[in-house]
Symmetry: C2
Subunit: 231 residues, 2 copies
């Protein structure tokens, strides 16, 4: 082989998955098709099947890549002197930084059909930090359920921002305020008293941390009630 020429490395599972992730980051999850991923790699669609068993496995693998990135990111979270909620908090906020860079990942992780090695590693790390702080096995179990996908940094928003639509006229706003009084007052407060902007009205990161702290505080309280060492 010519050592000066750019080596065209053969396909591999990893190269396929990374290309799929790159495509999703750039053009959204809908752009990830077997044919498109192959084309991007300069190869025929059928070649992918030698490294990935099908479309479902490709999507699972993409989730795996993101979680592996999360694991790498949070490995460096180390504040041994801090009390445990700070440790767990920093771990989860680290995961969130990674997850925010891959907005398509939430859907994928939610629809995942397999539990892969990276996910086990992440939850063992997170759970281990709780155990070392003195939380009981049972409480760690509850904590995982209470956190849910929030443990990986995902928000569970029901009103997504982005599709704001045209601004509403005054009459429509008044009609909505009459029909949905509570939402109207919440929107008015959150949007700095501009009731027309009902979407994209708040600081997602601050709200994520509020919810996270609520859960961590609650877990600490359960631990204290059980007579555990708080930190």
């Amino acid at each position: 082989v010519d050592r000066a020429a750019p080596t065209r490395p053969g396909l591999s599972r990893d190269r396929v998955l990374r290309e799929a992730v790159r495509l999703a980051d750039a053009h959204g999850l809908a752009a990830v098709t077997m044919r498109r991923v192959a084309e991007e790699l300069g190869v025929e669609a059928m070649s992918l099947y030698h490294h990935v068993s099908g479309k479902a496995a490709l999507l699972d693998g993409m989730a795996e890549v993101v979680v592996r990135e999360v694991v790498a990111r949070v490995a460096t979270v180390q504040e041994p002197e801090a009390p445990w909620p700070g440790q767990v908090r920093a771990t989860i906020l680290g995961a969130r930084e990674v997850v925010l860079a891959h907005p398509w990942a939430a859907t994928l992780v939610a629809g995942r059909t397999t539990v892969d090695e990276s996910l086990l590693t992440y939850f063992d790390t997170l759970g281990g930090r709780m155990r070392r702080a003195g939380l009981s096995v049972d409480l760690v179990h509850h904590a995982m359920h209470a956190l849910g996908s929030r443990a990986l940094g995902f928000s569970q928003e029901l009103f997504e921002e982005g599709d704001d639509g045209p601004p509403l006229d005054e009459a429509t706003v008044a009609a909505m305020a009459a029909r949905y009084p509570t939402i109207a007052e919440v929107a008015a407060l959150a949007a700095g008293h501009d009731p027309a902007s009902t979407i994209g009205w708040c600081d997602d990161q601050a709200e994520f941390e509020f919810g996270l702290d609520l859960i961590l505080d609650g877990l600490g309280r359960v631990q204290a009630r059980a007579g555990g060492d708080p930190g």
Copy 2:
């Protein structure tokens, strides 16, 4: 028209959406295609476009049907004497009963692109019950974020049950316990000390309620700290 013959009512948006929901309940979300829904209604695929603007609108509409069902279900939740966390708790657990009957809905609600009337109604109802109990507008706002999709009764599980796979042999279990010590001890406790069963190991409903109560307790504590009326 012959009054004895079964009237073949023309298509309508509602008939289309209900048929799509029926299909998803029976055969999963993947079975919901424009062509299949049409076939089931004894009509050509193109006819659907007169009542629904496309596939995305069909999926949005299916989420709408489920949320409408939730709204109908929780309208009857009335325990005026109970303190507010019980009111909110009963509302959310009512929503959960509906949602559990449509396991495909979680994905759909998460990927929804529009905020429809039924969703606004639900959150106005839920928020209104908090407001009437004395929670501040700001706290109701935080509560919505903290609850996230849990407000509608969705769990946010990361390890889904169902794809249990073949039972693991003793050597594999030992290897996993060495690699993932925390997960191993959690699994061992939760599964009644049978470490081979790492999935489907616990009571989903109880865990959902644990997490919900953690959040409701936390909200109550924030309210009390702010000097609000706890009842």
